[in-house]
Symmetry: C2
Subunit: 303 residues, 2 copies
């Protein structure tokens, strides 16, 4: 057998099956494993099983900021996150939130009488600024292929990415915001991206533009957003993630007519499990074949 | 000049421009016109200008049931409706409503605290039964081309239609309902289609299925729908049209947690005007070129 994999911290039959489907052998003794598939939030439990023999750790989420700040992720082995498995479901949620905002579904859901005064605007043909050019942004562009839209990506490097009309470096973020019908935040949470969307960025957005966040709450300055929504300087914000999260009862965003909050549900349920198991099997196959794995974490970069 | 067109009942500069763009001459005296572009709801005003000279009337909506029941539509000339111009905007609204239902955006919009108990289901890969295989259904299939979905059309004839996985005749409606994740009503309102979705059809739907109506309220038996929603025998209903319409204050659908109502806003605003003007110009060009026009109304069929 070419690869022994420890699945932890608890046994999960679906994942064990995925390990076997990928061509590896699941082992119940972590000290015999060359690879670990880890299914929990908590980095602390992982440390004791990280022997020198372990060459690769597959983490269960798209974001790895907890693991980075806990100092678990090191240069001694390969670390991969599960961003590939989240792309499609989160991308679909982005489309749902963009359509809800543009077509005022959030307002219709709250109405208790027939009010035709505001019909909203189509998403078809719109210009979307996507902060982050990873699997979520690419997934949105792929799902909306027939919608004649313009996708402007914002990334560290500004390098061209398939599916995006153009990509600019993050230093030019503010210059592309005024043209956006929707600004989608889909970038990793790192010290560099904390508060990336603040008062100045909100101010640069058009009055009829929506802000969508499916990344992490920390990328948006919540107080600045609350002020922008109250002032009507943007049309609305659809947030799957918030800061603080969970958003506490009584927070002004709960009663803001221009806000729509989905409680970190962009990715969910059985379909997501199936996607995750598929990812684990694919990654194991890639490892055994000596191919590049998806979701490689760069300890220096922080994601 | 090959075609004189009367635009009524009131002058509209955008439409006059579209008439010219199509290659025809707008005339202010209806008795000189060979064609009429009519922009109003009310059939009564049209009768006095319908001289024998008029060979073609272009109506402004996708549905023509008011005109049919008023007895204005005759066999003496060609009548066309504007279904071609409505397809894209209404199709987008169908996508917005399907995503809102599947991803529980309607419930999220009403929430005032962080509740992760219900994440909904993805639309990607779902099976959609579309009652009606006209421009709206085709538009939905086109917009969702990359979504790996199954589209089962229901039409009078059951003839295959581009974009649909398969099409069944309306007599087989009940047999295809159990497999639907979403049932979309997008068929003309005629005496034959009144109450097409009643208690038996709602009962045939799956418990996690959504019903979407962007056609006319009369196609669904409202009392049966209210009962099905209250009983939880379907997951929800997203209605852009209702019966009665407007839906009166205090109607049970306004307080039904499983209902989402958009007040006949599937098609709206400046973008729709532009689409409509484009349609008028195209239709005039087709008429002048002797080509077939879109949206031909068949007085015998009723749409």
């Amino acid at each position: 057998v070419s690869l022994r994999v420890f699945v932890g911290p608890r046994v999960n039959d679906g994942v064990l099956e995925a390990v076997r489907a990928g061509g590896a052998e699941p082992v119940s003794d972590a000290s015999k494993a060359e690879a670990i598939v880890w299914l929990d939030h908590d980095p602390a439990e992982l440390r004791p099983v990280l022997t020198d023999r372990v060459r690769w750790v597959q983490l269960p989420w798209a974001g790895v900021e907890q693991w980075m700040s806990a100092g678990v992720i090191d240069d001694e082995r390969l670390w991969t996150c599960a961003s590939e498995a989240y792309g499609d479901s989160v991308a679909e949620h982005v489309v749902a939130l963009m359509l809800a905002g543009r077509r005022r579904i959030h307002a219709a859901a709250r109405a208790t009488s027939w009010d035709t005064s505001n019909g909203g605007q189509p998403l078809f043909g719109a210009t979307i600024v996507v902060v982050g050019t990873g699997s979520i942004g690419k997934g949105v562009a792929r799902l909306l292929g027939p919608w004649a839209m313009t996708f402007v990506g914002v990334s560290r490097s500004g390098r061209p990415v398939d599916g995006f009309t153009r990509v600019v470096p993050v230093g030019e973020l503010r210059s592309v915001l005024p043209d956006a019908d929707v600004v989608v935040v889909a970038a990793p949470s790192t010290p560099d991206t904390a508060g990336l969307i603040g008062a100045a960025e909100l101010d640069a957005m058009a009055e009829d533009a929506w802000l969508v966040n499916v990344a992490r709450g920390a990328l948006i300055d919540t107080d600045a957003l609350v002020a922008a929504l109250a002032a009507g300087s943007i049309a609305g914000a659809a947030l799957d993630v918030t800061d603080p999260e969970p958003l506490p009862d009584g927070h002004p965003l709960w009663s803001e007519p221009r806000a729509l909050i989905t409680p970190h549900r962009a990715n969910f349920g059985p379909a997501a499990d199936a996607e995750m198991h598929g990812l684990f099997a694919r990654q194991i196959r890639r490892w055994i074949a000596g191919e590049e794995l998806s979701g490689r974490v760069d300890p220096a970069r922080g994601y």
